[in-house]
Structure formats: C-alpha cells, structure tokens
C-alpha cells in the first residue's frame, strides 16, 4: 500500500509544497499526494528574450536579476517604473512581504510579480567592473533565490556552497501558471540536479538548515576573508599507472578546510576532473573561482612542455591556464614535476600565473601518499602557505624528493590562508619575474 508519507517523497527526499501566495487558498486534500508536475517533466526556460530584458506573463512570475542593477534603476520603484502590476512580493524566513518602493533589488534574491498582462522590463545592469559577486544568508525552510551572472549552470553547481543543506528547488512556469518539476539535490531523471537554473528566474529553494549561498564564481577581493572558498580535483583511476591516494589527499584537504568554515565549492574526482576546469574559458567557475585549490594526481612532460594528467586522454597544459585573474590566490599541485619549469607559467599563449600568489608543487617526482589533511591542518594552525606545503609533504616524502614553490614576488612567501594570518594584496603580475623556494625532503 502506498502511504501518504511515501507519496510525499521523491527519490527518498521529503517533498515540500511551495508556500501559498498571500490569500491563496490551499486544497489540503491535494497536499497528501505529489502534484502532477512531479510525474512529468515541466520546465520552462528563461523568461526573457535577451539578457537585459525580463519578459513577464499575465499572472504570477518568479523572477530575479542575475547582476547588480545600475544605481538609478535598482530600487523596486525605479525598476518597475511604468509597469502594470497587481503586486510584488518577497519571501524570507517563512514570511511574505511587500517591498517598499525604495528597497533595492539584488542578485540571488528572487521575488514574485503578479502582472496584469504580458510585459517586458528592461534591466539596466552596472558596468562589468562593478559586478562583484554577492552572497545571501538563507534561513531554514523556503527561500526564493536567483542565480548569479549570465552563464547557465546546473542546480548542483549553482547551490554547491549550500550542498549539505538544500534538498529541493522548484521553479515556476509563468507562461502556463504552474509549478515546474522539482530539482532534487542528488536526484536523477526528471529530478536531476544537472538541470539548469536559468538566470533571471526565481526558484523556491528548500533548506534543511541555515547557510550562506555563495555564487560558484569567485569572490575576488570582495569577501575572501568572510567566505573563503576551497576546491579540489583529483584522479586515481588512470588507465596507465593508476594511483591510490589522490582522493585521500584531495578530500582530506577539502573536508578539513570545510570543517573549519571554508566554503566548499567543488570536489571533482576521476572522470569528473575536466581540463576546462583549469583552463582559460571556464576556469573562473572552478580552479580560478576559489581562493585555494588543490590537484592530486600525475604530472608529466615531454621535451616542449609540462602538464597535469587527468584521466586519459585529458591533460592540462600550463600555458592554457590563467590563474588569479579571477579569484585564485594559492594552488597546490600534488603531482610530479609540477613546478619544475616556472618558465611554463608565463609562456605563450596564456600566463598560468596571472595574479595567483603561489604555486606549490614538486620539482622532482612525488609519491602517491596522503598529505591533504595534514596540509590543511598546518595551514589552519597559521603556518605560511609555503612552509605548510614543505612541512606536510616532507612528512611523507624521503630523500631525493625536491619541493619547489613559485611566487609572483618575494612577499607572497609570507602569505597565510585567509583567517590564519597575513595575506598580501594581489601582486602586480610581471612577465619576467618570480621568486622561488626549494626544499629537499628527508
């Protein structure tokens, strides 16, 4: 017999009905079973024709702005000037409210517009240099959220900073005035968290506990100290020369910093580790979207270049990377020969060191051992970045192994991770200079 309790779970996750709009009546009998939208895929794409225009339909529209609005157009009254609407509603911590005309519309916050007929609203965004990533505190229960920036990311990527807390995201098909099929954290099929969160739309997001939503894109020089972010990639499952400890090193590092309050942005292992996560184009969503990153796996080289090996045939050539122009301050490359040739880091066509303070790696071979938790602990204890790398790796590596840290300048050598000591301002990038520290293990 199918009980109500079973009916109200999707893929093992308790289903939550979106809160009714003010004065909206609920048919309680319908709340004992999952709505029809959960049995067929109902999903609408962007509710706008272009990035700077919101297209609204007659009735309820769940919307958001993906970027900061220009100061002259950021208040509700200015944004909806001349617009024919019955009501505009916000929802936070279980309470509906009507914003004042002076309140600012901000990214990550979704709201409901009850429109009288289809209309278009123009978004006047600030210039790119003023588009610093926002953050938002989310209470337990429902919130209405939006995504940050123009690119379309999956729900999994969008909500990765609150991955332990969100369970369900539900959009709204404004054209047909119906809820969309829920996206479930870790779900599959119709409910897959690989489904896209469309910029400009608003989504109900259910939180099992309070947490801070931080966009996937980095928060360079904006809130690093308050929302320091960590990301790791690792590979064990090589076809040729598989490894055993890359996952331990990466996940140990990731979780130790995460348990200390760092925002865990991504942990990609084996075939999830992608070249594009490291290279120009998409690195700002991954390696260059966090403050500290770590890769554990093989390094390799030929007569012309050095690179990181991902699962065959994927590789990451250093001159295809540009780290630090977005957010990355420090990266640990736990693989052979990863810092043997710093000339590779400022070569044609891209500079691997393009704002990143330190690249920590091996001049020689390294060993397939677990160094991640220890490294993170040393960082949290207040050791400098380079000393923590030398100390943690020396712990497991013996004679013949040489570690090398490359810094943009000398002062970078005194950097600590955010919250554990001093950090220099982002250094100017010089095409021809670097500083380096070598440590021979024993």
């Amino acid at each position: 017999m199918i009980t109500d309790e079973i009916r109200k779970k999707i893929q093992g996750v308790p289903y939550h009905f979106p809160p009714p709009l003010p004065k909206e009546e609920r048919n309680e009998s319908k709340m004992n079973v999952l709505p029809e939208s959960e049995y067929v895929l109902i999903e609408s794409s962007q509710s706008r024709d272009s990035y700077d225009e919101l297209h609204l339909y007659d009735g309820a529209n769940y919307v958001s702005v993906p970027l900061w609005l220009d100061d002259e157009y950021s208040a509700y009254a200015e944004f909806f000037d001349g617009f024919n609407a019955t009501m505009i509603l916000r929802y936070e911590n279980g309470i509906w409210s009507i914003p004042t005309i002076y309140e600012e519309i901000v990214p990550l916050e979704g709201f409901v517009v009850i429109a009288n007929g289809a209309q278009d609203v123009t978004c006047h965004f600030k210039a790119e240099q003023y588009q610093t990533p926002p953050t938002r505190y989310l209470y337990e229960g429902w919130s209405i959220v939006g995504s940050w920036d123009i690119p379309q990311w999956s729900a999994r990527d969008n909500f990765i900073s609150v991955v332990d807390d969100w369970t369900q995201a539900t959009g709204y098909d404004a054209e047909n005035q119906q809820y969309e099929t829920s996206i479930i954290n870790g779900g599959s099929g119709y409910h897959s968290d690989e489904r896209v969160i469309y910029p400009g739309k608003g989504y109900y997001l259910w939180m099992n506990g309070p947490a801070t939503l931080v966009p996937l894109k980095g928060t360079k020089d904006f809130q690093d100290l308050y929302y320091p972010q960590v990301g790791v990639e690792w590979v064990n499952d090589y076809t040729i020369t598989p490894l055993s400890n890359s996952d331990d090193t990466a996940i140990g590092f990731y979780n130790t910093l995460g348990n200390a309050g760092w925002v865990q942005m991504f942990e990609k292992g084996d075939d999830e580790a992608q070249t594009s996560h490291f290279t120009v184009g998409e690195d700002w969503k991954y390696i260059d979207g966090v403050d500290v990153a770590l890769f554990a796996g093989h390094g390799s080289f030929n007569i012309t270049a050095y690179w990181i090996r991902l699962m065959e045939p994927k590789i990451v050539l250093f001159p295809t990377c540009e780290w630090g122009d977005h957010d990355l301050e420090w990266i640990f490359l736990h693989g052979c020969h990863t810092t043997k040739c710093p000339e590779n880091f400022k070569a044609w066509p891209y500079w691997t060191m393009n704002g990143v303070h330190l690249v920590c790696g091996f001049y020689s071979e390294g060993w397939d051992v677990d160094d991640g938790t220890r490294l993170a602990n040393y960082l949290l204890e207040g050791q400098t970045i380079k000393n923590a790398w030398f100390n943690a790796t020396d712990y497991t590596h013996g004679s013949g192994i040489i570690l090398r840290v490359i810094g943009e300048n000398e002062a970078c050598g005194n950097d600590h991770i955010w919250g554990s000591g001093s950090v220099i301002s982002d250094p100017p990038v010089d095409a021809n200079t670097y500083d380096e520290w070598w440590h021979y293990c024993d």
Partner: protein, 324 residues
C-alpha cells in the same frame, strides 16, 4: 624459448599501447583559442612502467635473508622529555598530540624551535622552522664546506648519543634554496646543507629511512631527524627472496613499494640494483622489516638528468603470509 615468447608478447603489448595513445591524442581537449597543432601530443604516458633500460649487472644475493620485528614505537613522556632535553627545549615548551604525532613547540627563544615524534614509527624531527624551511634573502648565507658540514653534523649527533655504531656517513648535499628571477638575472642562494647518514643491518643498507642533519648560516644546526625504526636484533626467521631478475619483472609491471606521481620519461636507465631493508614512510605502521630491491635510475628530459629510485619488494607475499 619461453623468454623469447615473453619478449615478443611484451613488444606487442607496448605497440598496442602506443597505437591506443596515438588514437587518444587526437581526442585531446582543446582550450578555446589554441589550435590542436599548438599542443604537444601525449607522449610517454606509459610513465613509470614504460621505458626501463637495464644498464648494470644484477647483484649476487643469497637465497634467504632474515626478517626483523619492529619494537613498538616509543612516544612515552619519558622519551619525549629526553628528546626535549637533548635539543635544549624550555621546560615550559608547549606540547600537543594528534593521531599521527606528538609535537612540542618552544617559543621561549627567538626564533622558536619545534620537535615532532611520529607515533607509528618512533621517528623524530627537531628543527628551527624559520631557518630550516627556505626563506627569502639577498645575501648568500655563510655555509660550511662539505667536510666542515660533515664534522659539525657528526659532532652534533655524537654529543647527543644519536649516532649508533651501525649508522654511517653517506653524503652532503643542498637542503634548501631561494631564488629570484628577473628579466636580466637569476640569483639562487643555497640556504642550508644536508648531511645524511645511512644505517646497515648485517651489512645491508636500510632504504627509505636514515639520520640527517641540516646546517645553515655560520654552521648552525637547524634540523636533526631520524626516521629509523627500532627492531629486535634477533630475526623472526629467514625468508626466501626473489631473484633480481624476478624483481626486475615486477618493476616492469609497476609493482612498486611507492608509486611515483608522474612519468613522461623517454628512457629510465637503471644504473644500480641493490638489496636493502625497507623501512616504511614514518607515518605508516610497520611490524616487520623485510628485504627490498632498490633500483637506482637516471632519467631526464632533453639534456637535464634526474636521479630516481624505484623500490620493489624482494619477498613474495606468500612467503610471509604467516606474519601478521
């Protein structure tokens, strides 16, 4: 006959791998703005299992060798205090313990010093972090000659009763460096020298552990460590060891004590093969000390050469399955 079949079979496998890799190369991910022709192909991703070339003779070894049982590591307060006293720590120095180690930090002096005792091995390291780990400078530190460094290290260890009779001097090398590169210059400063000592068990060297001392500016000792494990002198029993030829085959199949994190070598020249006793990484537990084959290799990239080591167990697991 069997050997020829084996060689032909091996060659066919290698050829197959090359064909597959050439195919895979054409599928490399390409970053926007860079054409495929800009990217080097994936060459020797066969890595450590690939191009070994034997350029030495095999050692003559006995059929059997003794196995020794380790003494449970000592990290009692008594030993910690003895080491604290040896390295001149203040009685007020702060001590802490984790799953892996006991750590003592002495901030009473400037710069402070640090002592770590590893719980799974009993190994220890004393150092002055500010001077032991590489730092920035624009002046070449006043380092002793190699002979002077050896004398300083030996005296330092003897004064503290840390140099047993079966531990011998091995080499003096660089311990840390700092470099600064500009458009017009590249300056590299040697910051410390490392003096290494190696232990022998019945004339057979211990691999992956030893005693070392680092010496910095004006001959100051900035680090002393021993990664040697204590063991009972009476062997548990003798075990049959693999022949060097069998060990070489294990090397070719990548059956190593520690896997390196890389590859890409066109050629790895094996210049020496010796039998040794294996002591695990100091963070790992170890009950028995057993024979291992050490392959000393020279490899490199272009004109650069690099020394690498490969270690292969000299004992088949079936020989020691009763040792738990």
């Amino acid at each position: 006959m069997k050997k020829n079949v084996l060689i032909i079979g091996f060659a066919v496998i290698i050829l197959g791998i090359i064909v597959v890799m050439v195919g895979l190369t054409s599928q490399q991910q390409v970053t926007e703005g860079i054409s495929v022709s800009d990217l080097p192909s994936i060459p020797e991703t066969t890595g450590a299992s690939g191009p070994y070339v034997l350029a030495t003779t095999y050692p003559v070894v006995n059929d059997t060798y003794p196995v020794y049982k380790t003494i449970p590591p000592d990290f009692t307060d008594e030993r910690v205090n003895r080491l604290r006293n040896l390295f001149g720590f203040s009685p007020n120095a702060q001590a802490g313990t984790s799953n892996e180690d006991v750590q003592v930090a002495d901030g009473s002096k400037n710069p402070g010093s640090h002592l770590t005792i590893y719980k799974n091995s009993g190994a220890f390291m004393y150092n002055i972090p500010e001077k032991y780990f590489p730092y920035s400078t624009d002046v070449q530190p006043d380092l002793p000659s190699d002979e002077e460094a050896r004398a300083i290290a030996t005296k330092y260890l003897l004064e503290r009763d840390l140099l047993p009779d079966d531990v011998q001097f091995k080499e003096v090398s660089i311990g840390s460096k700092y470099g600064h590169k500009t458009q017009d210059s590249y300056v590299l400063y040697n910051l410390t020298k490392r003096v290494r000592f190696v232990k022998e068990i019945q004339g057979i060297p211990v691999c992956n552990a030893g005693i070392a001392v680092s010496i910095g500016d004006k001959g100051e000792v900035v680090m002393a460590t021993s990664s040697l494990r204590e063991f009972y002198p009476e062997p548990v029993r003798f075990v049959k060891v693999l022949t060097p030829e069998q060990a070489y085959q294990r090397l070719l199949s990548n059956d190593l004590m520690i896997m390196p994190l890389g590859g890409g070598y066109d050629e790895i020249l094996i210049t020496n093969v010796t039998l040794g006793y294996w002591m695990e990484i100091q963070t790992y537990p170890q009950k028995y000390i057993m024979p291992v084959y050490a392959f000393s290799c020279v490899t490199g990239r272009g004109d650069e050469t690099e020394q690498v080591m490969r270690y292969v167990s000299a004992v088949d697991p079936s020989e020691v399955q009763d040792l738990s």
